[in-house]
């Protein structure tokens, strides 16, 4: 499953894929193998050489005895982007920027066809230009930004229907 986890005010995009004895956890794209077990108090988690004891009581979360501010948002079962056999990714993709920035170039129009990897837009942030690629072959259903516009990280750039 996939969710936003806010720990002490810092937000992270998290994916948890359960497996025997624990889970593979992705935090903002960095992957960790976690061994999860029931401890005397709460849950014991081991990642590499590090061990943490996590207790959850109602809304209160304690890590190694210390109270930590934890919020969970936008819980999703894994997105429908798994590949159907032979046809590449399918479904509807909401394309959002990896970070806030300015759209210096918009490479698509609504109704246009794109191939996977084609640029959707070029986003400039901190004096660097970053291409935002199409995640799949398909048709651009909606475009929500204009060239020259400055957008936040949660803005929808375009909607792509894979086909």
């Amino acid at each position: 499953m996939r969710f936003r986890l806010v720990v002490d005010g810092e937000a992270h995009d998290v994916v948890v894929r359960p497996r025997r004895g624990g889970a593979v956890v992705e935090v903002d794209g960095a992957s960790y193998v976690a061994a999860v077990g029931k401890g005397a108090q709460g849950v014991a988690v081991r990642i590499g050489a590090r061990r943490h004891r996590i207790e959850v009581r109602g809304l209160e979360v304690r890590v190694d005895g210390q109270r930590v501010d934890v919020l969970v948002r936008d819980v999703l079962a894994d997105r429908g982007t798994q590949a159907a056999p032979g046809s590449g990714p399918t479904g509807v993709f909401e394309i959002r920027p990896p970070m806030p920035g300015r759209i210096v170039r918009l490479a698509v129009v609504a109704g246009g066809r794109v191939r996977r990897g084609d640029p959707i837009a070029v986003l400039e942030a901190m004096k660097m230009q970053n291409e935002i690629p199409a995640p799949a072959d398909g048709v651009v259903r909606e475009v929500h930004v204009r060239e020259g516009e400055t957008i936040g990280a949660d803005r929808l750039i375009a909607v792509l229907e894979a086909s």
């Binding site: 499953m1 969710f3 986890l5 806010v6 720990v7 002490d8 005010g9 810092e10 992270h12 998290v14 948890v16 359960p18 624990g22 889970a23 956890v25 935090v27 903002d28 794209g29 960095a30 992957s31 960790y32 976690a34 999860v36 709460g42 849950v43 988690v45 990642i47 590499g48 590090r50 943490h52 996590i54 959850v56 109602g58 809304l59 979360v61 890590v63 930590v68 501010d69 934890v70 919020l71 969970v72 948002r73 819980v75 990896p98 970070m99 806030p100 920035g101 300015r102 942030a125 901190m126 004096k127 660097m128 970053n130 400055t150 990280a153």
Partner: protein, 511 residues
């Protein structure tokens, strides 16, 4: 003598300049864009004026608005910092026309330094060895192919108006010339408004070694030793140190004298840097940086000389405080640039709000920072948020101090280059001082990173634990702000108000 100095910049460098101004009894007049209304640099200013919208072209690059702020603030001098208008000769001229002292080189020397072909020619005439290349603007790919054939591959396209590592394009054989030529011209046109390019021989596995020079008002130059800045990604420096592990005393004296002679020949004044490529005991001229550089604090650490103070003295017509014979260097200094970039995602920019911030301290540790808890790192400016500088007895000592300092540096809310630096310092080649400009990509130093550190491991552990039970649903359903207990965001916001904002700076009375 300067009484009121307009600092035409933002972030850590504006704060750093204001610190020296204060020490010299000079009032600092700050400027800021809409995006920087709550920025930390405003708290260092005696007065500050808003320039306009966040877009640099509408604010920090807008000459008329900056000159207007100088007039309103009754400034008598302007310090441009680095970046933005620092090397814009037209800006320096406009300042002079407005009766403002420009803390930097005279416009003519700046123009010469900014034109790569002109500065190569001038340096060669002054007896400085210049990197092999042809000093002419290339008209088409055919001409480029002909020149490249004479130089021998690989070659490097460079923008004549370029600098800061932008607009360079490496070509390994004749078939790549056409694409390289067009790419270099297009980047040069967008970034510098001038598409002209020329060719240099590409020096593989070279070191980047530069020399800090001060040129007094009568044209006498003093050199303060070298800085090695070979650890780079995409031609942008990440780590700098002095002395360079590659140079001995004889080479240091030679490269220093050469750089000083070169700047004297350009008619340069003030603080300037001459960059060289260094390989197999041979150094060749690369470019002149006509400004105070990001990495100037490491030179300050080993010489004990305040470079901004020297800049202000020279601009006021006084000689620098040290003669060549008085320059003493002690120990070794190392700087790590802390950028708001994610080293785990190919240094992807990571703007946002800093929710927690703690600086390291200890003997020989200096932090020049532009942020505090609650600061916003806006997406439209440079990613540098802080510079961590350590000074040790020798290289081993400063590497050890840097390791501890990096461990003690906490920045949450934006991703930073700290984990990269931690890993770099562990690399055996870095430890031995074997450095070259493409080492970060050649050794895939960033790709080897697997984690952003212990804090992230803790987050992963929390995520794994929550996913186990029913806790996820309960927590997801909860309102984010529990009454009676301020959330960290609220605390961060309060700190931001304390840290600055236009209204938090009491305008002092003008004299």
């Amino acid at each position: 003598m300067i009484r009121r100095l307009l600092i035409a910049n933002r972030g850590e460098i504006a704060i750093r300049i204001a610190r020296t101004a204060r020490a010299m009894g000079i009032r600092s007049i700050g400027v800021f864009s809409e995006a920087d209304r709550g920025s930390l640099h405003l708290a260092s200013m005696d007065e500050a004026f808003e320039l306009g919208p966040a877009d640099p072209a509408e604010s920090y690059l807008h000459v008329d608005r900056i000159l207007d702020a100088a007039r309103r603030g009754a400034a008598d001098a302007v310090h441009p910092g680095y970046g933005f208008l620092a090397e814009d000769a037209r800006f320096a001229t406009r300042c002079e026309e407005a009766g403002l002292l420009f803390v930097g080189p005279p416009p003519r020397a700046m123009r010469l330094a900014g034109d790569k072909i002109a500065s190569r020619t001038a340096m060669a005439r002054a007896g400085v060895p210049v990197t092999a290349g042809e000093n002419r603007v290339l008209r088409d790919p055919d001409e480029a192919r002909e020149v490249a054939g004479r130089l021998g591959y690989p070659v490097l396209f460079k923008a004549t108006a370029g600098g800061g590592g932008i607009g360079m394009s490496r070509v390994d054989g004749p078939s790549g010339i056409e694409a390289g030529f067009e790419a270099a011209r297009s980047v040069a046109r967008t970034n510098f408004g001038n598409p002209d390019v020329f060719l240099e021989a590409y020096v593989e596995r070279a070191r980047h070694v530069e020399v800090q020079v001060l040129v007094g008002p009568r044209g006498k130059a003093v050199h303060l030793g070298e800085r090695e800045c070979s650890v780079q990604r995409r031609h942008q420096k990440l780590v700098e140190e002095t002395p360079s592990p590659a140079l001995g005393p004889r080479q240091r004296a030679a490269i220093g004298r050469t750089a000083a002679n070169g700047l004297e020949a350009l008619g340069y004044r003030g603080a300037g840097t001459v960059e060289f490529l260094y390989k197999d005991g041979r150094f060749t001229f690369n470019e002149v940086n006509a400004r105070l550089q990001v990495e100037h604090p490491i030179t300050e650490a080993v010489t004990g000389i305040d470079l901004v103070r020297q800049q202000i003295l020279i601009a006021s017509g006084e000689e620098p405080e040290v003669s060549q014979a008085e320059v003493r260097r002690t120990g070794h200094a190392l700087e790590c640039r802390i950028n708001a970039e994610d080293p785990l995602r190919n240094f992807l920019p990571s703007p946002g709000r800093v929710v927690a911030y703690r600086e390291p301290s200890g003997p020989g540790v200096r932090v020049d920072s532009g942020v505090a808890a609650g600061s916003v790192v806006p997406p439209m400016y440079d990613p540098l948020v802080a510079k961590l500088v350590v000074h040790g007895r020798n290289r081993l000592d400063s590497v050890r101090r840097m390791r501890l300092a990096l461990d003690g540096f906490v920045i949450r809310g934006v991703k930073t280059t700290i984990p990269f630096h931690v890993s770099l310092l562990r690399d055996p080649r870095f430890a031995k001082g074997t450095l070259w400009t493409t080492m970060v990509s050649d050794l895939r130093l960033a790709d080897r990173l697997r984690s952003r550190g212990p804090a992230e491991v803790r987050v992963a552990a929390i995520a794994a634990a929550l996913a186990e039970g029913q806790a996820l649903e309960t927590l997801a359903g909860a309102h984010p702000f529990v009454p009676g207990r301020p959330g960290p965001w609220a605390v961060a916001g309060r700190r931001e108000q304390l840290a600055g904002g236009a209204r938090a700076v009491p305008p002092r009375r003008r004299r």
